[in-house]
C-alpha cells in the first residue's frame, strides 16, 4: 500500500471547507488527504512527488456534453477558422481565408496515394468570410479527380468540389431544399440539411459511429480531452450495442488511458421498454472509467441550423419553425419509462419550445411518479428564460448550457436566428444560478473544441467572435462560479459528484495540472491558462508538447 503526496504551488479544491491547499495525498487511486505537507503526512509513510511544485492543481475538469466523434474527426484534415489542437498536441492554425483552406487541402490531397480516394475535411465555418461563399470551383483547385467534401463546423452544411456534383448528377435542373444555387441557377457546391448529410455519408462511405468507437478514435478522443485538462468526458448519445460497450470497457481498462468516459444511451434507438432493459443490463458492466446508466433524448434540432423548435415569435429572419426529433406527444412516455426505472435522462432542447415540452413531460411524470434527486438535465437549453429556469428549479431539473455558442455563433444569433434581444440572453448561466438550478456548461465537441476553461471564459465574459458582449451582468457568472461549474457542477449533472469534481477525501485522484493560476490570470484571460496535463486515479499524464503545424 503506497501513498504518494503531490506537492503543488497551489491546489484549488472546489471544497468550500478548504478552498485551497498545497498538498494532496493519494492512495489506491483515491484522495487520502488534502492540506499542508504536515497535515497530509499524518497517514503514514508516503513518497513526495514535487514535480508540480510550481504548478496549480484543480479537480480534473469535466466535459458534460461531448461526443466521441471528436476522436475520429482527426482522421481527416481540419479546415476551421480558429486554431485547434489535435490528439498529438499539434496545433492546427486557423485558416483565415478560403484560399488558405484550399491550400491546406491541396497539400493533403497531393500527399494521398490514390488519385480518386475521397477527401473529407471538417470544421469549416463560412460566417467568418463575409459575403464570399466557398464554391465548387474553389475545391476543384484541391482536386479534380477525387470527391472533396468540406464539412462545416455546425455539421449541418458542407461544400463539395465538381466531382461530387457530377457523380450525383447534380446540375441546374436539380431542385431540392438544401442545394444552394448561384444567380445563374447553377449549384454552387454548398449543401444544407439532409442532402448535405447524405453526400457526406456517401463520400466517406463508412459508418461514422463505428469509426468513432474504433480503439484509435477512443484514444484520440481521450488525448484531446486530456490536453484540455479533462479527466471525465461524456459521449452524449450512443447506440451502446455490444461492440461499442466492449470497445469502451476495453479501451478504458488500459491503465494508460487518461480519462473516464460516460456514454449516454440513445433513448429512442429502440422502443422504451427494450431500451430500459438494455440499459439495466449495461449498468453492471460499468467500471471506474467507463460508466453506463444515463440516457439521452434529442427533442429538437439546432438554432444555427434553423431546426430548433422556437416559441413565438420564432426565428428572427422569418425562417419557418424547426423540427421535432421525437413526436411531442411521445416524450412523456419515453421519459416515464426511463424515469420509473431509476435512470437519469438528459434531454437535448435547443429551442425554448422544446424546453417547454421537456419541462411539461418532467412535471407530468413527477406528478404521478415522484422520485427524489432524479436530476434529469436539459442539454443546450440555449433560449431558456426566467420562467423556465424557475420551473427547472421547482422540478429539480438541471441544465447544461452550450456557452461556447456565445463566441462561435453569437454574431449569427444576433443577426439571423434570434435577433438582438434574445441573443443577449442566450445560454443564460447567470439566470440559472440565480434561480438555484444545477448548472454545467459544455463544448458539444466536435461541434466546438473541447475545453472547459474556454467554456468557462465564455460563460463569464459572454463575448462573440467579434468581441461584442451579449447581455450584461445578469447573464454572466463569476470566475468562482464558472470554475465550480466545470468541476462540481458537471459532476452533479452526471450524478458523479460523490466520486469526482472536487479534491476531497475519498474521491478519485483526478486533477487538472495547470501552468497558471486561473485567479492570477483572471477572468478576462481564463481561456489562455496553460495546461500541463492531468492526473487520473493518481497516475500522471503529461500532455504532449504542442508543436505548430504548417
Amino acid at each position: 500500500m503506497t501513498t504518494k503526496i503531490f506537492a503543488a504551488g497551489k491546489i484549488i479544491t472546489m471544497d468550500a471547507s478548504r478552498p485551497t491547499a498545497t498538498h494532496v495525498a493519494v492512495r489506491d487511486g483515491r484522495i487520502l488527504a488534502v492540506g499542508t505537507l504536515d497535515q497530509v503526512s499524518q497517514w503514514g509513510n508516503a513518497q513526495v512527488d514535487s514535480r508540480f511544485e510550481s504548478k496549480v492543481l484543480m479537480p480534473g475538469l469535466i466535459e458534460g456534453h461531448s461526443h466521441i466523434m471528436e476522436g475520429s474527426v482527426w482522421d481527416h484534415p481540419y479546415a476551421g477558422f480558429y486554431d485547434r489542437t489535435g490528439p498529438d498536441g499539434t496545433t492546427w492554425p486557423g485558416l483565415k481565408s478560403i484560399d488558405q483552406v484550399v491550400d491546406r487541402l491541396r497539400q493533403v490531397s497531393d500527399e494521398m496515394a490514390e488519385p480518386d480516394a475521397p477527401l473529407l475535411a471538417w470544421g469549416f465555418d463560412p460566417i467568418f468570410f463575409g459575403e464570399r461563399r466557398m464554391c465548387a470551383a474553389d475545391l476543384d483547385r484541391v482536386s479534380e479527380t477525387r470527391p472533396v467534401v468540406v464539412l462545416h463546423a455546425s455539421l449541418h452544411f458542407l461544400n463539395t468540389n465538381s466531382v461530387v456534383l457530377e457523380r450525383g448528377g447534380i446540375d441546374g435542373s436539380t431542385n431540392a431544399q438544401g442545394v444552394m444555387k448561384d444567380e445563374s441557377g447553377a449549384p454552387t457546391g454548398e449543401f444544407a440539411g439532409m442532402v448535405a448529410m447524405y453526400l457526406a455519408t456517401k463520400t466517406i462511405d463508412y459508418d461514422i459511429m463505428d469509426a468513432s468507437t474504433r480503439p484509435s478514435s477512443l484514444w484520440n478522443f481521450a488525448r484531446v480531452a486530456q490536453l484540455a485538462g479533462v479527466t471525465t468526458a461524456t459521449d452524449l448519445h450512443s447506440a451502446l450495442d455490444d461492440t461499442i460497450v466492449d470497445r469502451f470497457v476495453s479501451a478504458t481498462s488500459d491503465p494508460r488511458y487518461p480519462i473516464r468516459i460516460v456514454p449516454a444511451f440513445g433513448g429512442t434507438l429502440m422502443a422504451a421498454p427494450q431500451g430500459v432493459e438494455r440499459l439495466k443490463s449495461l449498468v453492471p458492466k460499468s467500471t471506474d472509467k467507463a460508466i453506463f446508466g444515463i440516457v439521452k433524448l434529442v427533442l429538437d434540432g439546432s438554432i444555427q441550423g434553423f431546426t430548433a423548435r422556437l416559441k413565438w415569435p420564432g426565428y428572427f429572419n422569418g425562417h419557418e419553425n424547426g423540427l421535432w426529433y421525437i413526436a411531442p406527444n411521445e416524450v412523456e412516455g419515453i421519459l416515464r419509462a426511463y424515469h420509473e426505472a431509476g435512470f437519469q435522462v438528459h434531454m437535448h432542447t435547443n429551442g425554448n419550445e422544446a424546453t417547454d415540452l421537456a419541462l411539461d413531460a418532467v412535471e407530468a411524470v413527477l406528478t404521478t411518479s415522484p422520485r427524489p434527486d432524479h436530476r434529469h438535465t436539459l442539454q443546450h437549453c440555449q433560449m431558456a428564460d426566467e420562467a423556465q429556469f424557475q420551473r427547472m428549479a421547482a422540478l429539480g431539473v438541471g441544465v447544461n448550457l452550450f456557452s461556447n455558442h456565445i463566441f462561435y455563433w453569437g454574431e449569427a444569433h444576433k443577426a439571423l436566428t434570434l435577433g438582438p434581444d434574445r441573443s443577449a440572453k442566450i445560454d443564460n448561466a447567470g439566470a440559472a444560478l440565480e434561480n438555484g438550478v444545477d448548472l454545467s456548461i459544455h463544448s458539444d465537441a466536435p461541434i466546438t473544441a473541447i475545453g472547459p476553461l474556454f467554456s468557462a471564459w465564455c460563460a463569464i465574459n459572454r463575448l462573440t467572435s467579434e468581441g461584442d458582449r451579449l447581455g450584461g451582468e445578469a447573464e454572466a457568472i463569476t470566475l468562482d462560479e464558472a470554475l465550480y461549474t466545470i468541476t462540481m457542477g458537471a459532476a452533479r449533472s452526471l450524478k458523479m459528484d460523490d466520486r469526482v469534481g472536487s479534491i476531497e477525501i475519498g474521491k478519485f485522484a483526478d486533477f487538472a495540472v495547470l501552468e497558471d493560476d486561473p485567479y492570477e490570470v483572471g477572468a478576462a484571460h481564463l481561456k489562455d491558462v496553460r495546461i500541463w496535463g492531468t492526473v487520473l486515479g493518481g497516475e500522471v499524464f503529461e500532455a504532449p508538447v504542442s508543436a505548430p503545424e504548417g
Binding site: 447534380i170 442532402v195 448529410m197 456517401k202 423540427l323 411521445e330
Partner: protein, 307 residues
C-alpha cells in the same frame, strides 16, 4: 459508389404523423409485394409483423424475406441504411422509406435529386382521420403535420371508419384547403391499391377481393400513338386531369430523334431520356380511381402530331 449504367431505383417515402398507419401499410406490402423486390427501410422492427415462415435470414438490422423483399431498420444512421440498400445485390426493384412520425418526408425525398442511382417515385402521406382535427389544434403538432401534407404527392386519409361524417368532412376540407389539387384517398387499414401507391410494374393482384375490405376500385387506361407527341401539351392535359389520375407512365416519341420516359405521380411530372422501344410506338398508361374522368383530351394530345 461506382456510377451505374442501369436505371435508377424508384424511391417512395411513406410519411405521416405517429399513429397514422404507416406500419400497417408496410406490413401489407412486405406480405404481398406482387413480384417486386422491395427494400423497405423502417424506424424499428417493433411493429413490423412478418410471418416467421417468410423470413429467410435475420442479421442485425436486416430481415430477408422469401418473396425477395428485405426490411431494414434505420438503427442510429438512416443515411447509412439507405446507402446500404442501394448497394444490395441484386439491386432492389424499389426502395420504400418509412419517414419518422415527425419528419418532413420531402427532405428524405430530396435525396433522390442528388443521387443518380435513385428516382423519386412518390411521397405518400397518411393522415389519421380520427385524430387529424385534434392534432391541428395542438400548436406543437400542427406545423409538423402541415409540412407533411404539403410534401405529399398523394394523401391517404386513413381510419375513416373511426371518424364520423362531420369529422371526415372537416379533414377533407382542411387538406383540400391546403393542397387544392391533391388527391385524397379515404382508406381503412391504409388499404389503398398498390398500383396507385407503388406503380404499375406490380404483378396483377390474384388474391381474392373478399380479403380486401374497403378496397378502392381503380381503372387503368392505355393510349398509343404513332405520332411525335408534344411534351408540353401532354403535360397540360395530364395536369388538367389531376387529381383524378393518380399516376401516369409513358414512353413517348417527343421529337423525330428523341424518346422520353414520362412519370407522373400526383401532380408531379418528370421526364427522362429513354431508348426507342422495339415497336416504335408511343404508349401512355394512366391509372386512377373508378370512374376515370373523360380522357378523350389525352388521346387527342397524344394523336396530334407536332410540327
Amino acid at each position: 459508389m461506382p456510377p451505374r449504367d442501369d436505371v435508377p431505383v424508384p424511391l417512395t417515402i411513406i410519411g405521416g404523423f405517429l399513429g397514422s398507419g404507416k406500419t400497417t401499410l408496410l406490413n401489407r406490402l412486405l406480405a404481398e409485394p406482387r413480384g417486386q423486390r422491395f427494400a423497405v427501410i423502417v424506424n424499428d422492427f417493433g411493429a413490423i409483423t412478418i410471418d416467421d415462415k417468410l423470413i429467410t435470414s435475420h442479421e442485425g438490422q436486416t430481415i430477408a424475406l422469401a418473396n425477395g423483399c428485405v426490411c431494414c431498420t434505420i438503427g442510429d444512421n438512416f443515411l447509412r441504411t439507405l446507402l446500404d440498400a442501394l448497394k444490395m445485390t441484386p439491386t432492389p426493384d424499389h426502395i420504400v422509406v418509412e419517414a419518422s412520425g415527425v419528419a418532413d418526408p420531402a427532405r428524405i425525398a430530396d435525396i433522390a435529386s442528388i443521387e443518380k442511382d435513385l428516382r423519386l417515385d412518390g411521397v405518400i402521406v397518411l393522415a389519421d382521420a380520427s385524430q387529424l382535427i385534434a392534432q391541428m389544434a395542438d400548436s406543437r403538432l400542427a406545423d409538423t403535420i402541415e409540412r407533411q401534407v404539403d410534401s405529399a404527392d398523394l394523401v391517404l386519409l386513413n381510419k375513416t371508419d373511426l371518424a364520423d361524417e362531420a369529422a371526415l368532412r372537416a379533414c377533407r376540407g382542411w387538406i383540400a384547403n391546403r393542397r387544392q389539387h391533391l388527391f385524397i384517398y379515404d382508406v381503412v387499414q391504409a388499404n389503398a391499391p398498390f398500383e396507385l401507391l407503388f406503380g404499375m410494374d406490380m404483378a396483377p393482384d390474384h388474391s381474392s377481393s373478399s380479403h380486401k375490405p374497403h378496397h378502392i376500385p381503380f381503372e387503368t387506361l392505355s393510349f398509343t400513338s404513332d405520332q411525335v407527341v408534344s411534351a408540353h401539351s401532354l403535360e397540360n392535359e395530364l395536369r388538367a386531369l389531376s387529381p383524378h389520375i393518380i399516376r401516369a407512365k409513358g414512353i413517348l416519341q417527343t421529337s423525330p430523334s428523341e424518346w422520353s420516359l414520362l412519370q407522373m405521380v400526383g401532380a408531379r411530372i418528370e421526364w427522362a431520356k429513354t431508348p426507342e422501344p422495339a415497336d416504335a410506338v408511343s404508349q401512355l398508361v394512366v391509372i386512377g380511381p373508378t370512374p376515370l374522368p373523360n380522357t378523350s383530351a389525352l388521346q387527342a394530345a397524344l394523336s396530334s402530331a407536332t410540327p
